[in-house]
Symmetry: C2
Subunit: 216 residues, 2 copies
DNA sequence: CTGCATGTTGAACGAACTGCAAAAAAATAC
DNA sequence: GTATTTTTTTGCAGTTCGTTCAACATGCAG
């Protein structure tokens, strides 16, 4: 049984609130007082549960990745439609997350990349690790596409992965800037056309795009 | 003649140093003591010359735009080669700036967009104004391209401008993440292939790319 | 009930923060 | 030389920062 005084707020709930605050306001822009307010935990409780501010930020970032990034990347790995459709779903899920009104706009990880230049050594390592996980997930899906014959065996995988990785960041930045959802979906569609698929007509034609297609 | 005690450091030089500090560390991550140290001006001098911290940040951001953004956008407006070549130069100039080792990595404006969500009202207005200037410059060059027959009259200008605007942000984020210069140039080349030009062969063929082209 | 383990609370610490006022320094004007 | 003007320097209010300690509250075990 649980000994001692019971917790007022669940640790996971507190971490969720902390994550939102860091996501919204950045590391230096969020004080421990702010975190105590939004989480409902007193400051000594935060220190006891998570450690100091840096450790708390790292745990919030990892919680973000598990809660939001994890499902999206798992979906990409398990995806079995055409590679273009799968990346459309993938980037679309990122867009939905970016624009979700229940959470701050943009992507916490992208914000952290901007932040991390002046963070601690450990902070940078965590951010770089997540960034590499993101890249690796994209890369693996592309390798499967080559194996499935959806892309040529001559395809430069790293080039395509870097391009998609960049679209990921762009989506987060456009979302942070307040772009509309249709415009963001159109942005994704435009980017997908730069990918070297073997049968472009099959995956691009017949789409119900709100704007004319670019390729002519 | 100049009366009174002469300034130890020129105001523009101080603003340049301040800009670099904000660019590197963000608004909340940079203290007035830091700014006093890097600029060589004592704190009362900073307040006398620029106002409070928020005003100083705005002046630093505008200085950034005049010093770095201005020339790049002026070059885009004055550009007279094919639209694809002009945007290759434009995005390439952004990439060079992003990777320049004499200044912090990334783009100060992009960093400020991440920062500005929790900034003052005025702060947000300044950032949005610069973002709209950026978009407008891209848009104007596309309109000229349609007039010159390089793009179809049916082209969705806003769609193409949003796409290029997103590539701009992506370049800044990839640069902040530490991408190599060849990879960043390849990223640009990949994105350009999503643009709907009338004579793709003329502008894409014969290029000395380090990787195979994507379109097949 | 009495221990004990855990959580919460209020207070407080030293340090760093923004912003400013008064004094000292360095130049010109007379 | 002295007076004046402008900037630097020094130091300091008042607040907030991250962090911790001692006291109090609330549960189970015996």
């Amino acid at each position: 049984m649980a000994r001692g005084r019971p917790r007022k707020v669940d640790t996971k709930d507190a971490l969720q609130s902390v994550m939102v605050a860091f996501w919204q306001n950045g590391y230096a822009g969020t004080s421990m007082n702010d975190l105590s307010d939004v989480s409902g935990m007193a400051k000594p409780g935060l220190y006891a549960a998570f450690g100091d501010k840096e450790a708390l930020f790292e745990k919030a970032l990892l919680h973000y990745f598990e809660t939001y990034g994890g499902p999206v990347f798992a979906q990409l790995q398990a995806a079995g439609k055409h590679v273009i459709e799968d990346f459309r779903d993938f980037l679309g899920a990122i867009a939905d997350l970016t624009l979700d009104r229940n959470t701050p706009s943009g992507c916490f990880l992208v914000n952290a990349i901007v932040d991390c230049t002046y963070g601690s050594e450990r902070h940078q390592e965590v951010v770089n690790g997540l960034r590499e996980s993101r890249f690796a997930a994209i890369r693996e899906r592309l390798i499967k596409a080559v194996a499935a014959g959806e892309m040529s065996v001559d395809t430069d995988i790293d080039r395509a992965a870097t391009f998609l990785d960049g679209q990921f960041s762009a989506i987060a930045m456009l979302g942070r800037s307040g772009i509309s959802e249709p415009d963001l979906k159109t942005f994704i569609e435009t980017g997908l056309r730069a990918l070297p698929v073997s049968e472009p007509d099959r995956v691009f034609d017949g789409l119900d795009l709100s704007t004319p297609t670019l390729r002519q």
